[in-house]
Subunit: 470 residues, 2 copies
């Protein structure tokens, strides 16, 4: 998951105009057959553990998949081969292009008054430091707003340091206030004269592993080296600064942007072809690329494999559902929702046929909340769906303003109805964009649970024929 | 804490001959004054938070302190200056010598069939690989015993890999069965023909940070490169091997032993000089050196600063206790209990005057158990001491076989009575010997609690005049 659009998924509930204001119908709209099959699919998914197995394969046989790396290419090959092996009716790729960024090497240290080697990681998109590194006094800001408020020129020759500490929240709402510094910090610091930008990691852990992630860039500005410190290192740095003597820091970073060099990747799409209206699609979204640290087992290996498993369980039914299901593994999400942008362009003429979508890009926990973003006519079906999920502890969010998460937020902006399933995100930002994004963090029981919900949702959306449009 | 002697602290309780078999006395032996002062010292320590403050200073202003590094020298200077500033009656150093070991650099990777970059760390004392690195097939053993059972020559040209998973236990008893591979694995693998030795980290976490620590070495054997993988990396490697195809691994490691190059460090000793029998010492032990990863805030910054704080609280009393208190910060513990060996040699003529000792070298938790190793005459005083700790939730261990922990185990072997205080060690091996050994892991409330117990113990042992000898 990257920074853009995430705030949409964390929006304050808009009660007005939401579910509670819609009339209830006395009779069920969904047929007994649809309900019965949904409950069978639930049991199938809970028994199978397929997503967990697929994620073990992806993270072990492929691993890290940053766009432009061999791992990303292997990820595309893996997904195509695996979808074919699972028996999807159609499997294809759609090329996605992006510009090359190289992480290079990084060395970070406090040089005085008390030297410490620091664990740091370049922010995605950052330029490097001068070759020999850059050494300067550190100026600390408690958050991005404080950095923004600094007087122009006040950071001339200094290294700007934002020490904001992300809060742990079930719904991930600590991310927004923290990630703004990752997005804009370097650009603002550069405007004020800083020679480099460092920040406390956007993460809730206390491990000496720094969190990477995309930063905003501006072609018209040369850029300064930008890096995140691990949270324990940020503690050390802040404790040193608190002593009141000037603290000097050296950053040597060889990351590099190549704005003219194009790298290729792909969106990988697997289709379950509908038996009645195959030109209408239920979209299951996730992203196949990952950062180059960790093995991408969590972000977004979980989403890739939950949605693939949901498709496979539908494929195993005696007959295809009425509508098609498209499992779309987007490329180049981490670097700016690039794959979905290109999908949107390629499929602009059939957007009306994207009847509803759900994305998974929020980690390891179990779903506890379901929020629709559909037209009023569809709300009774959503309620009936929610009744099936209720025994699993999933609440129906009374707001009806979901617009799709991560990649699917762009399809949501373009008008596609969506259902957002929210898992417990308490642990997600412990691992997010770090070396710790590995398969041991994936909870097999949560994978079964979440796959069951995605499979039931997909089945009902594809078989019921309901018009979800707003 | 290193591997040697630790098993002694985890011995099965020897009930026979222990506390329960000793006669109880009806009247208290400790005077009301001693008890009252002990309770005052408890409040002082609980209010002060001095150990936490000292550990922040040590870990922030010094940081990592591996013997032979500038950090170790700075640690000695810090300790001398700080003990003087705290007002210890005497502060001195005693030179400790050891041989130089250089960690160098390490690169580890699975090269086939599915490549992965691995997080690994050299074991302390290991030689390096050939300059270009060594690439070979990996042979997995589920534990050290399985490696030992391998036929001679069966590992010719292979890399031996022990994948034993350490268990999390409150008393740290998962350490012994795991650490044997770190101690002896490389030597045994080399005997069987292996060209390198790798192992799952001796640690209970699932962070992508590998755990270092000493290995046994043998001057008569050339040695092979030996390294620990982080636990998530060990999972990946084992998952690859389970697929049944040969897995190749490349290790490039420039660590180096210099058996002839001597490095100097010191035991740092601060004394509270007794008012009646200053030649008798209550010993508070810990070690000042640390590994070069992390800042040594936990191992053994906590021990260093708890014992310094206990000494300071005794110093602040209106008068000195009858006996002296020696706060001994041993050097070169991690590399083989070297500092305490040299202390033992230097002080062999006054060992009888080491009336009792307690070490702290087991991390972040709160004390829940106290186990004596004293003569029968002293058991009633131990019981009275334990009554003072009982409201704090500390049990008196019915065995009476404590021999001192870590460094003090050698003084215990030489006959010094001891009390072992055992803290909850559930989290200790998450951080142990990794980059994660940083100040954010230190719990300020546990520091107060444990300092209170050490201070009360020290006071009673130094003031009561009891003969603890066996």
């Amino acid at each position: 998951m990257l920074l853009h659009k995430f705030s949409g998924t964390l929006a304050v509930l808009a009660i007005t105009g939401g579910l509670l204001s819609q009339p209830l119908k006395a009779e069920n709209i969904l047929s007994e057959e649809i309900r019965a099959t949904a409950l069978e699919l639930k049991e199938t998914a809970l028994d199978a553990g397929l997503a967990y197995e697929l994620d073990e394969s992806l993270s072990t046989e492929v691993g890290a998949r940053r766009v432009g790396t061999p791992g990303d290419k292997k990820g595309v090959e893996w997904a195509v081969a695996k979808m074919k092996a699972l028996g999807f009716d159609k499997v294809w790729t759609e090329e996605v292009t992006h510009v090359l960024w190289e992480r290079g090497e990084i060395e970070a240290e406090v040089t005085g008054p008390y030297p410490h080697t620091m664990t740091a990681i370049a922010l995605g998109g950052s330029v490097g430091s001068p070759k020999k590194g850059i050494e300067a006094e550190v100026v600390e800001f408690e958050n991005f707003a404080a950095l923004e408020a600094a007087a122009p020129g006040s950071l001339d020759g200094k290294i700007a340091y934002v020490s904001y500490r992300m809060e742990r929240k079930v719904d991930g709402s600590g991310y927004g206030p923290a990630v703004i510094a990752r997005g804009k910090g370097a650009l603002v610091a550069e405007q004020k004269g800083a020679v480099a930008f460092i920040m406390r990691s956007v993460g809730t852990d206390n491990n000496r592993l720094a969190h990477t992630g995309s930063m905003n860039t501006d072609d018209g500005i040369p850029g300064i080296a930008a890096a995140a410190l691990s949270n324990p290192d940020a503690d050390i740095l802040s404790n040193l600064i608190r002593r009141g003597k000037p603290v000097t820091f050296k950053l040597k970073q060889s990351s590099r942007r190549h704005d003219k060099k194009v790298v290729k990747t792909a969106n990988v799409i697997g289709e379950v072809t509908g038996r009645e209206s195959p030109e209408d699609y239920v979209i299951l979204g996730s992203h196949l690329d990952s950062w180059d640290v960790g093995t991408g087992a969590v972000d977004d290996g979980i989403g890739v494999t939950i949605t693939m498993a949901a498709g496979k369980h539908i494929l195993d039914l005696p007959q295809r559902p009425k509508r098609s299901v498209r499992v779309v593994l987007f490329g180049a999400e981490e670097v700016g929702l690039v794959g979905v942008e290109q999908y949107l362009e390629a499929h602009k003429d059939e957007l009306d046929h994207h009847v509803i979508g759900a994305e998974w890009d929020f980690g390891v926990g179990r779903i506890y909340d379901m929020k629709p973003g559909v037209g009023p006519e569809a709300l009774n079906v959503i309620r009936e769906m929610a009744e099936l999920f209720a025994p699993m502890g999933v609440s129906l969010n009374p707001a009806n303003d979901a617009k799709g998460q991560s990649d699917l937020s762009l399809l949501g902006d373009a008008g596609m109805p969506a259902v957002n399933f929210s898992p417990d995100g308490s642990l997600y930002f412990d691992y997010h964009h770090t070396d710790n994004d590995t398969f041991d963090k994936v909870d097999p029981e949560a994978m079964k649970f979440n796959t069951a919900i995605y499979t039931m949702f997909t089945w009902i959306a594809a078989e019921s024929g309901v018009d979800f449009r707003k």
